[in-house]
């Protein structure tokens, strides 16, 4: 990320700086320190999308010094339709939905709210999903986030070295392992990502293809779409080898 114009992008008029910790397209880990410092300098709050980082590395919200941090359950081995919102300023914020379980006292003309986080959880809670996500996070914690991270770093290194051997394959995003996580997007010559994805799927390898919900970025990169391998704690080198073989197979198939 180019930080040279940070002072003209984040100004006295900025109230909220919302950004991703690690890009779901490029894999890039953003340089938070300078951004958070600048945001706080102008009195803005920082909202961090940690969907691609919290499930993959140890996170210390105090050290990051962000004001809000969010991540989704389905990227952390958990269920869909549930996620985490953490904030140091929840007590200062008014509720945005009213309903059961979020009040302290109610009269015909007044109401006071339960303490956070309950005041933000009106109505019947998403119980099954919350319990499922809790179990998933306990599972990750027991393994140890530093172990998850170490595993991914070495595996990402292996995958990138492997992919760089494929003719016509271009990695979209940094190849420097210090600047990225385990989501690796790429293009392979003229093979359209949906065709490539279909082929590698037939070989038992699951990848994501398309814009990854970031069409403006895909346009800026000048590609119709990309193919993305997303490594996690359940992957090993044989998975990277299978992907490598499948890409070579696709090149023959669509030649």
């Amino acid at each position: 990320m180019d930080l040279s114009n940070i002072n003209s992008v984040i100004t006295e008029n900025t109230k909220v700086v919302a950004l991703t910790h690690q890009s779901n397209v490029l894999g890039t880990i953003n340089p938070l320190k300078a951004i958070v410092a600048r945001a706080h300098e102008v009195g803005a709050v920082v909202v961090l999308d940690a969907c691609q980082s919290a499930p993959h590395m140890p996170i210390d919200v105090k050290e990051l010094d962000v004001d809000f941090l969010v991540f989704s359950g389905h990227k952390a081995l958990g269920p869909t339709g549930v996620g985490v919102l953490w904030s140091s300023v929840l007590d200062d914020l008014p509720p945005f939905l009213y309903g059961g379980s979020m009040i302290e006292t109610v009269t015909m003309t007044t109401a006071t709210w339960a303490p956070a986080p309950r005041k933000f959880e009106a109505g019947v809670p998403n119980m099954a999903q919350a319990v499922g996500l809790g179990a998933a996070l306990d599972y990750l914690t027991n393994i140890g986030m530093i172990n998850v991270h170490d595993h991914e770093v070495s595996l990402t290194q292996y995958l990138i070295e492997k992919l760089q051997q494929v003719p016509e394959l271009k990695i979209v995003g940094p190849t420097n392992i210090d600047a990225r996580g385990g989501t690796v997007s790429f293009t392979v010559g003229e093979i359209h990502p949906h065709d490539l994805g279909q082929y590698v799927d037939s070989q038992g390898v699951a990848v994501r293809t398309g814009h990854h919900c970031a069409w403006p970025l895909t346009r800026k990169l000048g590609v119709p779409a990309t193919t993305r391998a997303s490594l996690y704690l359940y992957n090993d080198e044989s998975d990277c080898d299978a992907l490598f073989d499948a890409i070579l197979g696709a090149q023959k198939y669509f030649a």
């Binding site: 949906h194 279909q198 037939s202 293809t209």
Partner: protein
């Protein structure tokens, strides 16, 4: 291999050597259709005279299925009346939703029967239908502006 039922030779041929690609200078209607979930795009010009489709030209980007399908459709539906084109289009749509249970009638669908295998891959059906829906849209626009008369 199951994949071969998806990527028939005729589909890959049309993908590599598309027909009617390159937009005509004039048209009765021009439409632009996309598959938002994958970014396949097609811009399509249709001209008609006396109720007959006289020209279908297009330009686009996307996967082999989407681009081959618009290529085949543009060849198949030209020189047909709107009613004939609609009947062919309806038969193709039905084939796409057949979940692999139909082969398609080559007397009606010609090369388009090659897409029969696509109906077994739910995520790709919309790729195959993109160009056809664009042609349908263009035909409707021509008829609502009566340029097809």
């Amino acid at each position: 291999m199951e994949l071969d039922s998806l990527y028939q030779e005729v589909i890959l041929d049309h993908y590599k050597h598309p027909m009617n690609k390159g937009l005509s200078a004039t048209y009765g209607a021009q439409v632009h259709h996309v598959n938002p979930s994958c970014g396949d795009e097609v811009t399509l010009n249709v001209s008609a005279e006396k109720g007959i489709i006289t020209s279908i030209t297009w330009d686009g980007v996307g996967c082999s299925i989407s681009q081959a399908s618009v290529s085949i459709a543009s060849d198949l539906l030209v020189n047909k009346s709107f009613a004939e084109a609609e009947a062919i289009l309806n038969e193709f749509t039905e084939l796409m939703h057949s979940k692999g249970t139909q082969q398609g009638n080559p007397e009606v669908l010609d090369d388009a029967v090659a897409f029969a295998g696509v109906s077994k891959f739910p995520a790709r059906i919309k790729c195959a239908l993109l160009g056809w829906m664009a042609i349908k849209d263009a035909a409707v626009r021509i008829n609502t502006t009566t340029k097809g008369e």
